[in-house]
Amino acid sequence: MIKAVNLDFKVKSKYLLKSIDFSCHASEFVAIVGPNGAGKSTFLSLIANEISPSDNEVIFKDCVFSLWCRTNLAQHKAKFSQSFSSDIPLLVKDVVMMGRYPYFQNTPSKQDIESVEQILRYTGLDQFSGCEYNFLSGGEKQRVHIARVLVQLQNNNKQKLLLLDEPLNNLDVKHQHSVLKTIRAFCDKGNAAIVVLHDLNLASEYAQKVVILDKGIKICQGGVKQVFTQEILSKVYQMPCQVIENPISKNPLIIFGQ
């Protein structure tokens, strides 16, 4: 679905990302993990077409980004960034409605309004619908943006791509899990999600594929059991760790420290 071979990104001859191969298929939930400054956000920006790689190109659905029509692309992939603007003096439903902007010219159709209402209910935000966005807490704002990108991809297209940069910031445990479940459900419908995550145990529970980045280089890529090993993780994070089996889900459970 999305493919990149030997991707480089450099700023003033300093490599932020070096020769990265990556591919992602339909129904895959890919987690990108790694220590601070590993280049996770830069990598996601490259995949999202926010910045162009210094070498080679990202191919999304057999087509380079420059050949995609702007609106059509917005109906196939959505992203929200880690540091979204904090001052948006609009109502919550107006912010979520932005997700429908690729679908109408000047006035939202009845269907757009229905989609927004539906997604607000689905994400449990309907009680905030008429509130001003600026008055919400950090976690609630985060959920509004998740609703916004979800409603953006609500259409009949197949194999859509969702890109999220640390979507769990500011969220409490319950909402961390509900957001990840939502993403998982989205992927199960034949779509894909590429998500930057910090919590390795959550990544282990929900992701099918994990990419570990460190200092701009891809360390490894594969299923959670392949990638989350004591050897790799303690080296990348420079911290001793234990990997055991989660007694319930049988996925790797990582415990850092002695």
Binding site: A74, F80, D87, L90, M98, Y101, N106, Q152
Partner: protein
């Protein structure tokens, strides 16, 4: 949402129409048969109206009213569009120096143009002034945008200070020009700094209507894009918004409107600040409402100011810039107080 907006649009339009009709009846000139009957006769029995009465209504009051509405609409919508572009309610054509840039170029053209005027046909020298103030507006706009915005973020302090710098430069050069200009040019220059709608005529109405029609055609459909810009440029891009095209449109068409309006009416400050401010109080910052409604509210506000300016202490006419500044300066201070933490 759509219905609600149409409702407000119709309401403001009605207010504007009533105000326009009322303004026709207000003024210093005394008609032979009283103003009501004169207007009535003008509509139904045009033959019996005397030449001078007809002239006052048709050639003085009507074009002045239309120019007031058009200029107010232009300034109002420019203010809204600029605030969307710079993501800040303090941006307005006057404060960031676009008006001054236009005045500067116009003043230079008036004084220096005097030397080459005799070699040019009248219509060229007339449009030369419009073109030069447009160029002045575009150049300042571009300059201000470049120095205040880096990687998609506008530093509002730099934005306002660059406005101060350009206004100072414009004032200084206009000052120098007063020394080298003759009496007629001097009167022209005073007009630029205080603003007046007294010189309105149907040619100006025609030019301004065309400019406004073109600009509104490009600017009014941008409400969606301006809302999306609040998310930041990157996220707006993911919604399919072409950021560069939006910026280009706003820069060119606000400069076009402001340039031509300055050229015809001089400096009328604060309309572009007050109009979006009032709309934000009622509708929040949703450009879906603010952008189209600022056209009508701008027209209403400037027409009101102009009618007051020529009737408050008649027969003396208060320069309109004084009235709009009296409305605008308190709003500006209020905004500063509210946003002082973010400056």
């Amino acid at each position: 949402m759509n219905k609600r907006r149409s409702l407000y649009l119709i309401m403001l339009l009605l207010v504007l129409l009533v105000l326009m009709i009322a303004s026709v009846f207000i003024g210093v000139y005394e008609f032979d048969n009283g103003v009501l009957e004169t207007v009535f006769n003008l509509v139904f029995y045009p033959d019996i109206v005397s030449e001078s009465d007809r002239y006052i209504i048709q050639q003085i009051r009507l074009p002045r009213i239309v120019i007031a509405v058009l200029a107010g609409a232009g300034l109002g919508v420019s203010g809204s569009a600029l605030q969307g572009l710079f993501k800040n309610p303090l941006a307005s054509p006057g404060l960031i120096g676009i008006t001054s840039g236009a005045v500067l170029f116009a003043a230079v053209t008036i004084v220096l143009g005097g030397y080459i005027k005799e070699y040019l046909p009248l219509w060229i020298s007339y449009s030369l002034l419009s073109i030069m103030s447009f160029i002045g507006a575009v150049l300042t706009m571009w300059f201000v945008y470049r120095i205040s915005t880096s990687s998609g973020k506008t530093n509002i302090g730099v934005l306002l200070l660059s406005g101060v710098a350009i206004t100072a430069l414009s004032a200084a050069i206009t000052g120098v020009l007063t020394f080298v200009s003759n009496e007629q040019e001097l009167r022209n220059l005073t007009f630029w700094t205080l603003g007046s709608l007294a010189g309105s005529n149907w040619e100006k109405v025609f030019i301004l209507s065309v400019v406004m029609a073109i600009s509104l055609k490009f600017l009014l459909p941008l409400s969606k894009q301006l809302n999306a810009l609040m998310l930041g440029e990157k996220d707006a891009c993911h919604l399919g918004v072409s950021i560069e095209a939006v910026k280009r449109k706003i820069i060119i068409f606000t400069a076009l409107m402001v340039g031509i309006i300055v050229c015809f009416t001089g400096t009328i400050g604060f309309v572009g600040l007050v109009v979006p401010y009032i709309l934000r109080l009622v509708f929040g910052s949703n450009y879906y409402y603010v952008l189209p409604l600022s056209v009508l509210l701008g027209g209403i506000l400037l027409l009101l100011a102009d009618t007051l300016s020529r009737s408050l202490i008649a027969p003396v006419e208060i320069p309109i810039g004084i009235l709009t500044s009296m409305m605008g300066a308190p709003v500006f201070m209020g905004l500063l107080l509210k946003y002082k933490k973010n400056l």
